[in-house]
Every structure is written in C-alpha cells, then in structure tokens.
Amino acid sequence: MRALVTFVYLFLYAPIALVVLFSFNAGRSASEFTGFSTMWYGKALGNTFLITALQNSLMIAFTSAVLAAIFGTMAALGMQRLSSRGRAIFDGLFAAAIVVPGVVIGIATLVALVEVFSFLNPALASIWPGDKPPQLGLGYGSIIAAHGLFSLALVTMIVKARIASLGRDIVEASSDLYATPFTTFRQIVLPQILPSVLAGFLLAFTFSFDDFIVAFFVAGSKTTLPIYVFASIRRGVTPEINAIATMVLVASLLLILIARVLMQDKTTKTQTGE
C-alpha cells in the first residue's frame, strides 16, 4: 500500500521535477540538458511578452475571481430567499455553467460576441461624434466574462452549501433581537461563510490562471500565460518556460504555506479560547 502510494506521488512529481531541472539548463533546448545555469530566469524576467502574458493571466484570474466571489456570495445569499421555482432556475443555470465543457463555453462566447460586435461597431461608429469611434473587440473583457461564468457557479455552489449547513435559526435569532439585516449579515453570517468564500475565490483563481481552451477562443489579440506556453510548444520550448513555471510553482507554494500558518494560528487561538 505504502509502496503504491509512494509510486503515485513519484508519478505526480516526476514531470514537475523535470520542469524544474530543465529551468536550470544552460542550453537552448528544454529537452537536452547541457549544463547548469540560472540564465533562463533572467531571460524569462526580461522577456516582455512572457511577462505581459503572466501579468495578463494574473490580472484576468484576479478580476474574474473577485467578481465571482462577490456576485457568487450575493447570489448564494439571495437564492435562499427566492421562490422554489426561481431557485430551480438558478440551480439549473449554475449547474450548466459548471458542466458545459470549456471548449463549448469558448465557442459560444466567440460566436455570440463576434455577432454582437459586428452589429454594435457600425452602430457605434454612426453615432460617435469624433473621428475615431472605439472598436469593440475580443480581449480582457471577454476572457474575464467567460472565466467568471464558471467561477461564479463554483463560488455560489460552495457558499450555498455552507449556508445550508448553518441553519436558519441563528439568522432568525439575530433578527428577533432587532438587529438590522446588514448587522446580522456582517456579524453573524459573514464570519461563518467567509472561509467558503475564500475557498471559492482560490479555486476560481486557479481555474482561470490555468485555463487554456476558453481563452484560446475568446482572447482576441491578448495573450495569457497558457496561450503563450501553447504557442511556445509549437515554436520550440526554451527553458524560459520552465523558469517561469518554476517561479509560479514556488510562489504558490509560499502562498499555501503562509495561508497554512495563518490558519493554524487562528485554530490554536480559537481552541485556547474555548
């Protein structure tokens, strides 16, 4: 059993080890190790396009995850108060947003937006006072919207499950004591659901940051990190890609570690408080 589990861990980490190893390659290729060097880290950080792609990915992941966390939490709270019919409609739509494959989401968004833009752009041009009317097109907005769809559903599902486990009595008790709804929310509900909101945010961020297929269709001229990596695989990967992947891995490990430490602090405090 133990041997098997060890083997699975090796299986999970062998490719990652290889990625990290080749980031220190002295040669140009990501497949032939010719000597140790850290130069690709410098090259990666100096590569405008790679850094732009990374910034784009971070910005898109952050924005779509924040919007999803806010709107998703609101929806989860609001859905409790809807009629059962309204709730069923929302449940169905959220389920659809999660189950419909990314490739279909990408295509549908592309098809719809191209159609909408071909109608809106001439209209906009005809009413625009200046010489240069703005051209609407695919870009940050369309990626954030398409990523946000899945993330929104994800956050709503997670937070809703948490609210369901809370029980209504705690909210009702607070209202009975003449607390305003907002006070109830801030002092009673929010602290209880916050971990779920954060978990949803993190999942949404991870999903958006690693997504290739949706962005592939709706990114327009913008490049995200996965799109850049995909293009590099086609033109021949240099260890720059390995270097940036290693840096992202280390950064996220650090974040997890920090989160762990903070949470441990909190749990020990609450435990001693009891």
Binding site: G137, A231, R234, R235, G236
Partner: protein, 386 residues
C-alpha cells in the same frame, strides 16, 4: 594616382557592401563605417532634418512591441534581436501550421498581428475579404521590384496594387531519415506506400489541407490542386487508409524528426535544409510525380495595431544585408537577385535549397480555390477526426 587621392576616392559598390556587412555584424563601429564610406559629413548635415536620413519608416513612433505570425522554424532569432536593438521594438513571434489557421484567426477578428506570412495562393482571398490593404511602398525603400523574380512574386500584386512582398520561395517535398528507411523513395506514391510498410508508425503528414490532400492527389496521379469530387474521394480513401500507420499529423515535424521519433515526413525546403544541415542522414526529396512549389509573402493585416512597426520590420527584412542572414539561417531560396548575389556559394550550390530546374517542372503552385473550397476543408477535418 597619388596615395592621397586613393584614400579619398569614393568607395566602390563592393566595398560599401563589405563595410555594410561588417557594420551589421558589429565588427566595426558606426563611426568607422561612416568615416570609411565618407558618409560622415552628409550624415551630420542630414541628421538635423529628421525623417530624411533616418528611413521614413523608422522616423515614426514605433512603439515598443509588435507581433509577427509566421511558420515554424522560419526565421533566425538573431534577426529579431538585431531589429529590437536597432528600433527598440520587441517582436513577438507566433507560428502556425497552415494558411487556413491564419485565415481563421483573421476572420474571427482581433489577432494583434502587425505582420504575417501568407503563401502565394491565399493573397487574392485576403484582398477579397478586405483583411489586408495595399502596401504603402514609400515606407518600404529597401524593397526593389526590379531585382525580384517575376516567376515567384506575381501573386503579391492585384490590379497593379502591391498587397504583399515576397519572403522566399520553396518546395514541398519529403524528408527521409535514410539510416532508418532503406527503401529508395522518389515519389509521393512511394511516400504513402512506405508510410504503411517500412515506416509504419513513423511517418508524418502536415496538419494542412493544401499539402496533405495535394500530395495524396499527386500520388494518385491527379493535380495537386484538384477539387473534383471523385478525385478528392480517392485521396480521402488513401489518407484514411494511411492514417493508422502515421506517427503524427503536425506541420511542425522538426522535433519529431530530430528525436528520430519520426523517420519520414512531408517537408518544406527550409525545414529540409535545416534537418539535413544538422543530420546529414536526413535526405530531402522532391516527388518525381509532382508536388508543390510556393512563395511565401509578408503582408500587413488591416487590423494591425502597430502598423508603423509592421512596416519597419518589413523594410528591415527586405534589406538585402538582413535578408541574406535570414536565408542562410532558414535555408529557403530567395526571390531577390540582390540577396542571391550576397549568399555564400555553399548555400547557392545546395541542391535542397536550389534544386535543378528539371526537378521543378512537375511541381504546381497552390491554387486560390483550395483555400476556401469547403470540400477540401471538410475532407481534411474528416481525415483528422477519423
């Protein structure tokens, strides 16, 4: 003739080129170059008037980045580094495996490309769809129509307007690793037969309807450009029969060939020359039964965000001193006699790059109709999803 006179004589054309090359290579300083060529004084005067000495394209604000859409293994990375050093514009290079893919991207809108590399037969369609504009030749002083070979470059102009400038020409043949495959391959008929026998699981075809369907048609004795339903049906039958025996369907076959995962592939001149240069056992063969001859062009999409940089890079690439380095690195033949004159003998005598005229006679240029023909597009898609 006194020594004084000789030293101050106007520099000869050959010397100028030599000095220019040395300057480009960085072996002389700019000051040395200007001194030797006697241009120093002229520069000093002209430099006061911006836009005169600096070429027109460079004078504008070029921004800091631009994007080029091209084919795999088609440029010398040093070219872009030099361009960036000269202009401050970093070049993002994206590669594609077929003209259809480039067209699809442009049709969907928002590619972000400032320069791209369409093949001869696609240009009329790009013009028809309004995806490219005529080039402003005043921004391309380095280009010389007079030194171009009309045989390869006529499709860049439509109705006397130039829409695209030639990059280089070439052929679509077969690359065969002769240390792995002993059968002698001379035709596309051989290619598909060996793909199912000796090279079972080791042959590659392009992810590109023109060459993959075209070569299958040729192997059956039909035209490379056929769109006749019954001939296409035969080609489809052959391709579907071959498919289980293939190693892959991919237009970037160099990694597979270099790693010897693949032993044989459909191959463009430039890739053939590069593979043969590094691995002499890989031969490049033109089909005796036919195949493709092509010219690739540079064009600027109408939707380009940074046209000044697109023009600047195009002019830079049209400059013979820069083009010659590109040609030496990528191994595709040139359409420009100025560049040909600068190429070293070992390139011009390379039979992969400049094959005998006799071996070209059966080759065909791609026809515009194949780009948009729905039957060919659907055949290719069916072949891939079979």
């Amino acid at each position: 003739m006194t020594k004084w006179y000789r030293e101050n004589a106007p520099i000869t054309a050959e010397n100028l080129t030599d000095e220019w090359m040395r300057l480009k290579r960085g072996s002389v300083t700019r000051r040395h170059f200007l001194g030797v060529t006697g241009l120093g004084l002229a520069t000093a005067v002209l430099a006061r008037q911006p836009g005169l000495f600096n070429s027109a394209a460079y004078a504008q604000d070029l921004g800091t980045t631009m994007s080029l859409a091209t084919w795999p293994n088609y440029h010398d990375p040093a070219t872009f580094e030099a361009f960036t050093a000269a202009t401050g514009v970093a070049v993002e290079v994206n590669v594609f495996g077929s003209n259809e893919e480039m067209l699809a991207k442009l049709q969907a809108g928002g590619t972000g490309w400032d320069l791209f590399v369409p093949t001869n037969y696609t240009i009329s369609t790009y013009v028809k769809l309004g995806l490219i504009d005529p080039l402003d030749m005043s921004k391309l002083p380095a280009f010389s129509q007079a030194s171009q070979s009309a045989r390869f470059t006529s499709e860049g102009a439509i109705d006397a307007k130039t829409y695209a400038l030639p990059k280089n020409w070439g052929t679509t043949g077969m690359a065969v690793n002769t240390s792995k495959i002993k059968t002698k391959i001379t035709s596309w008929k051989d290619f598909f037969e060996v793909a199912m026998t000796e090279a079972d699981g080791r042959a590659m075809v392009h992810d590109y309807q023109l060459t993959t369907i075209g070569s299958a048609l040729v192997s059956l004795g039909y035209s490379f450009n056929s769109i006749k339903p019954e001939e296409l049906a035969k080609a489809e039958e052959l391709l579907i029969k071959v498919k289980p025996h293939l190693y892959g369907i991919n237009s970037d076959y160099q990694p597979g060939m270099r790693a010897t995962d693949a032993w044989m592939t459909m191959c463009w001149t430039n890739d053939g020359a590069q593979l043969n240069r590094d691995m002499p056992e890989i031969a490049y063969i033109l089909g005796t039964d036919g195949g493709e001859i092509w010219t690739d062009f540079y064009a600027i999409p109408k939707s380009a965000a940074n046209k000044p940089a697109g023009y600047a890079l195009l002019d830079y690439l049209m400059t013979p001193a820069n083009a010659v380095k590109e040609h030496i690195a990528n191994g595709a033949p040139t359409t420009d006699s100025r560049v040909l004159a600068l190429l070293p003998a070992d390139v011009t005598s390379n039979k992969i790059v400049y094959p005998d005229e006799a071996s070209l006679t059966k080759l065909e240029f791609g026809a515009a109709v194949t780009l948009t023909d729905p039957a060919r597009a659907e055949l290719m898609a069916r072949f891939k999803s079979a």
